[in-house]
């Protein structure tokens, strides 16, 4: 009897110990490494967000590491070759080239089809920007949106209604002419408006840079946008535009926007400028924000989204935990935290659910202009830009833009050349 009791007690004890150990093992957090390029004051913001994440995910610890942005590929490729990569690496754009080199894991392999669908729906339609060859390579944790900022005081000055900003290209052109002022030397003193980014404006004009895998730089919509760029150089004299550009050097050196120093009456800019204006503009600075004006047949609420955000390298040790961190930024199930992330660094969430959070709403109340971008994200049918030659393509487009603005050739011929150059580069990769 005594013996049986003892044996029983021992068994129970062993069971308890085993259970405790199991529990301890289950609680042992995994540590994921996160390489990012946010330096200086931003490093602390990222560390704060990591702390928030760890608080809601006690089973995961995150070890962030600042990696010099320009050299991250060297470090990553050495680490991947040795089978010792980080669990997450951040990059802006160009993810398809990583995918093409077989350096990253598609997220759909880490999720069940149902889970994947939930997140696709949650981020609809912006998830498409990270889709390539039938796989999802990342989920955008945030996105930058662009709209037209206009200076209401300048509108009043020239007799325009400050509450009726341009909504189409013809009006934009007419207003730009009215708002432009010249100094005594006949040089541009203030520009009403100047087209800036051909990559995005081509999308506004109904153009397209990619058709599946095919490069379509000479799309009629792109040519229309390019012609429009050239029309400004002809109207205002290209030499005066160049002189005006170089006179903006002082603003740039101060990291100030020429819009804030009132060198422009209207300008295409991203949502983060709202915070800059709040910080740097004088008290009486009165401005409005509207979606980019579009020509007839163009795209209203145009948004062109580079691929990017956090990637999970091949052979990462804890891909599942890494995925949890990436999805944390998407915000599903962590709406309040995600709204807080928005207020910490101006990283726009992509989902409607997050925008319902009180923190988000308070912030929008404080900076009402964010509403325009929030609406834009809801209404837009975004254009993705996923190609293995993303950076090369962008570089060629910018080069073409400069040549078109300087009237160094026929816009159509210039874009056709971009088309053949980028196609050749893509063929070289595919060989």
């Amino acid at each position: 009897m005594q013996l049986r009791k003892r044996v029983l007690t021992l068994c129970v004890l062993a069971l308890v110990v085993a259970l405790c150990q199991g529990a301890v093992l289950a609680q042992e957090p995994v540590t994921i490494t996160l390489w990012h390029g946010w330096t200086g004051a931003w490093t602390q913001v990222i560390n704060d967000i990591v702390e928030m994440f760890e608080a809601s995910h006690p089973h995961i610890k995150v070890k962030p590491l600042v990696v010099p942005y320009d050299e991250r590929d060297t470090k990553l490729m050495a680490a991947i070759a040795a089978g010792d990569p980080p669990d997450i690496i951040y990059t802006m754009g160009n993810i398809v080239s990583y995918a093409a080199r077989d350096a990253i894991v598609p997220l759909d392999k880490l999720m069940t089809p149902d889970e994947l669908q939930v997140y696709k729906d949650y981020q609809y339609p912006l998830y498409q920007a990270n889709e390539y060859k039938g796989h999802i390579w990342s989920f955008h944790g945030f996105v930058d949106a662009f709209a037209l900022y206009y200076n209401k005081n300048h509108f009043r000055e020239v007799g325009l209604d400050p509450d009726a900003p341009p909504t189409d290209i013809a009006t934009l052109d007419a207003y730009a002419e009215k708002l432009t002022t010249m100094n005594a030397a006949g040089q541009i003193d203030r520009a009403g408006f100047l087209p800036d980014d051909l990559w995005h404006w081509a999308d506004v004009f109904g153009g397209s840079w990619l058709d599946g895998d095919k490069i379509t730089a000479a799309h009629p919509g792109n040519i229309a946008a390019a012609e429009w760029f050239a029309s400004y150089s002809r109207k205002y004299d290209v030499r005066k535009i160049v002189a005006f550009d170089s006179s903006l050097a002082t603003e740039r050196a101060q990291a100030l926007d020429p819009f804030i120093s009132e060198k422009f009456s209207m300008q295409r800019m991203g949502q983060w400028k709202i915070l800059d204006i709040d910080r740097y503009a004088p008290e009486d600075f009165d401005y409005g924000v509207v979606p980019l004006p579009a020509p007839p047949g163009g795209r209203k609420n145009s948004m062109i989204v580079p691929s990017g955000y956090g990637l999970i390298p091949k052979n990462a040790k804890h891909p599942e935990a890494a995925l949890e961190y990436l999805l944390y930024w998407v915000g599903k199930g962590h709406e309040e935290d995600r709204a807080k992330i928005f207020t910490l660094g101006g990283w726009f969430p992509l989902s409607d659910e997050v925008t319902k959070e009180p923190i988000y709403q308070d912030y929008i109340q404080r900076y009402p202009h964010f509403q325009v971008f929030s609406d834009l994200l809801r209404k837009t049918d975004p254009t993705g830009f996923a190609t293995p030659v993303e950076l090369f393509y962008i570089d060629r487009i910018n080069n073409a833009r400069d040549r078109i603005r300087l009237l160094q050739g026929d816009p159509k011929a210039i874009l056709e050349r971009v088309n053949s150059e980028v196609t050749a580069e893509l063929d070289k990769l595919n060989k």
């Binding site: 330096t39 200086g40 942005y69 050299e71 060297t74 050495a78 070759a81 040795a82 050196a253």
Partner: protein, 271 residues
């Protein structure tokens, strides 16, 4: 007399051209942001922003990075000074079969760019478990360096054989000849080796970049890169930090200048 003035003028002009980047660096370090890209360039900033220096030290933990760099640099200097002359001595002063072939092999490794061997070497250190330690940055220097071996071998060849023979007759061992006769004679060239290694290790970027995975282990060169991000560059702070990072090398050069130049002329290597 006129010839001398002309020579001096030319030398001064070239001197000014070479000092320009240094002046720009120090001047930018003291500029308020507004003046950095001003045209025509502002040479003497007004007001002078001395505060850029302490700001640079807090923007990125530069003092910690400096400590790490000193550890790596000092140890690797000791490494090359211990190992390279020993190998060079063997190649220069002892006769053995095919030693010239081996010397050729050693020297030819200098032709292989670092980028080519980077990944295989990384894999090697990874299998030793040395990633995220200073070992890959330090240990190789204890196994000789092709350039320094070449440099020292050339110098050792110029020392008369009779010195060794005399020592040998007096009963000195081979190692005794090396440590008591040859090394003391080679002090200036050893100083050159130490200085070169100091500059290389101090400025090394790629090595620490790929091997270190913990921010508290980062070095100065990695720290300097952190002033540039994908979005913006803190030029004034970057230049302030760069000035501070360059300072030790300049100071060292001023103090060792004489030995340095003597060493270079002795070994017949210029530049």
């Amino acid at each position: 007399m006129i010839g001398q003035i002309v020579t001096h003028c030319i030398l001064i002009i070239f001197g000014l051209i070479f000092i320009l980047p240094l002046v720009t660096m120090v001047s930018t370090a003291l500029k308020p942001d507004v003046q950095i890209f001003a045209w025509p360039p502002v040479w003497i900033p007004n007001p002078r922003m001395w505060s850029n220096f302490p700001r640079a030290l807090t923007f990125v933990p530069m003092i910690l990075y400096a400590k790490n760099t000193v550890v790596i640099t000092a140890t690797s200097v000791i490494g090359v000074v211990l190992s390279s002359p020993l190998v060079a001595y063997g190649l220069a002063r002892i006769d053995w079969p095919e030693r010239n072939l081996l010397f050729l092999l050693i020297v030819s490794t200098m032709m292989v760019p670092y980028q080519v061997t980077m990944i295989p070497v990384y894999l090697l250190f990874n299998s030793l478990g040395w990633i995220n330690t200073y070992l890959p940055l330090i240990v190789p220097s204890f196994f000789g360096n092709a350039f320094f071996i070449f440099l020292l071998r050339q110098f050792f060849m110029t020392i008369p054989r009779e010195l060794s023979d005399a020592a040998r007759i007096d009963g000195c061992s081979e190692f005794g000849i090396y440590s008591r006769i040859i090394l003391p004679l080679a002090k200036p060239s050893l100083a050159v080796v130490a200085l070169f290694q100091f500059i290389w290790a101090w400025n090394d970027f790629l090595g620490p970049l790929i091997y270190l995975k913990d921010q508290t282990k980062y070095t100065i060169s990695l720290g300097l890169q952190q002033f540039q991000s994908g979005y913006q560059t803190e030029w004034a702070l970057l230049m302030a930090a760069a000035t501070m990072a360059t300072f030790p090398i300049i100071i060292l050069f001023f103090f060792t200048q004489r030995t340095f130049i003597q060493g270079i002329t002795l070994t017949g290597i210029k530049g």
